[in-house]
Amino acid sequence: MLAYIVRRIVSTLPVVAIVAVVVFLLLHLSPGDPAAVIAGDGAGIEEVARIRSELGLDQPLYEQFIRWVVRVVQGDLGASIFSKIPVTELIAQRIEPTLSLTVFTLFLSVSLGVAFGLVAAATAGSLLDHALIFVAIAGFSAPIFVIGYILVLVFAIDLDWLPVQGYVALADGFVPFLRHLVLPSVTLSLAYLALISRITRASVLEAVAQDYVRTAYAKGMGEARVFTGHVLRNAAVPITTIVGIGVALLISGVVVTESVFNIPGIGRLVVDAISRRDYPVIQGVTLVFAGVCVLINLLVDLACGLFDPRIRL
């Protein structure tokens, strides 16, 4: 296992490097003068020159890249053009709502997704199964913000059960914290839940049909042990993999969901930065989120190695 862990970590390093290069090059491959675009239409020549030197665009490309990498490695993502506050500080201020939202969403979609998938697999071909498949396809087709507004309309405005929008910090009380998180998390989890339940259904059905499951039954193993030891363990690999693949989807969804529900998280930080053309903020958040994606996919690979020893070879 240790050799597998080391090998996986080493093979992640080039991906991290590529992410850094891509995020860096975005600024430089864009047609036209990014400094002029960021400065906006009304800006004078001095303003454009100031932004150009602030972004380091007036230096040779390789030099800019080396400086940028050295700074990023030291934990310096630059500062907002608008407020001059370091990007890392801005992210730190906003991390609690985003982390709460994603953790709660992950919990909802993995637990419910696996449960729905198992029910659909157990009743394969029945009316319930078809209904679950339909809900899964529909959940994957509707945009997050439409689902969000419809949930708000029904549960917050018509029924008045939950708050319409906003965020309450955990420190200000657990119940209001949870009440404000329910609608955004359900909204964000639907697409992810659909993905996970579909994969769960498919991989459980596939595992059940394998010869080793028949062998296990034939040698007198109980239903429960066959299920946990043979079916679920083999279905766990594709399910875990899709959880990893879905993380990028989830992060894109966070940006939209925070906008719909007016949650002051990292997603809102980016959206607010768009209208101010605050590029360092956008670049910093993109880099951090991409890093999170790479990290989670590394953990997913390690988990798969844990479930299925053949993967470790």
Partner: protein, 270 residues
């Protein structure tokens, strides 16, 4: 070719939406016509989908809004097929470049698509072309990965060996013997690309980036309605249904196509 049910439903819905978008000027009224006397009117005979806060017909705007979604979805699908083959075929066939190319693809795929699009649009300014480019970047690696994995499998087959042994150039082997066997699964994958692109485009329009605000899109219609949606839910419901139907149609078509092309997989996944 025998069509199955999912594919027919998908194709029918998609055809209907495309036809409506193309024929929009003959089907519905002016999407820009303001009628201050008829602001925020619920659906009626005159305005079947109601009116927005400027008194504009939601039906007209929804029909016209489909144009951007379908253009962007179609263009990104086309770009990802072309680049997917152009990068994936050599990556799978020539071992030397495989590792490098695939690590680059992994790196691009690690960046969440909405954030990548936000970064690109912030740097280059808004416009439909920018949106297409920004959305194609994260989708291309998905096609490249599929093409490459298919090529890895196909290049070991006897007919490829025979072609190589008979002295065909690498280009000829790839073009005549490998490519044709990768087309079917790639078409299926590309329908999913189109579906996810339509969703991401709607999200970008909703966030107010990309397509200029003067052009009606399903996403910016919903964004404009956010302050009135408790008074006038039809402002969100109709464009919302339109996006969902478009994505559903593309996904049903893809599912049906997959079942048709690979019955073995169909029985397994469904």
């Amino acid at each position: 070719m025998r069509f199955n049910r999912r594919m027919s439903i998908g194709l029918l819905l998609l055809g209907g939406l495309a036809l409506a978008a193309i024929m929009a000027p003959f089907l519905v009224g002016d999407p820009f016509a303001i009628s201050p006397a008829n602001r925020l009117r619920p659906p009626s005979a005159l305005y079947p989908f109601g009116t927005d806060n400027f008194g504009r017909s939601v039906l007209s705007r929804t029909v016209y809004g489909g144009r951007i979604s379908l253009i962007v979805g179609g263009a990104v699908a086309a770009i990802s097929v072309v680049l997917g083959f152009a990068i994936g075929l050599p990556a799978g066939y020539f071992r030397r470049i495989d590792n490098v190319v695939m690590r680059v693809m992994d790196g691009i795929m690690a960046i969440p698509s909405v954030l990548l699009a936000i970064a690109v649009v912030t740097l280059t300014g808004s416009g439909v072309g920018t949106v297409i480019a920004a959305l194609a970047v994260p989708e291309v690696p998905r096609v490249v990965r599929l093409v490459r994995s298919l090529v890895l499998m196909i290049r070991e087959l006897p007919f490829v060996e025979a072609a190589v042994a008979s002295g065909s150039s690498s280009f000829k082997v790839l073009w005549l013997h490998v490519l044709p066997h990768t087309v079917a699964p790639v078409i299926v994958q590309v329908t999913y690309v189109a579906g996810s692109t339509i969703l991401t485009e709607a999200a970008l329009s909703f966030l107010g980036i990309g397509t200029p605000a003067t052009i009606p899109t399903w996403g910016n219609m919903i964004a404009n309605a956010r302050n009135f949606f408790s008074l006038a839910p039809w402002l969100i419901i109709f464009p919302g249904i339109a996006v969902s139907i478009a994505v559903l149609a593309v996904n049903l078509f893809g599912d049906g196509l997959r079942d048709l092309l690979d019955p073995r997989l169909a029985r397994r996944v469904r």
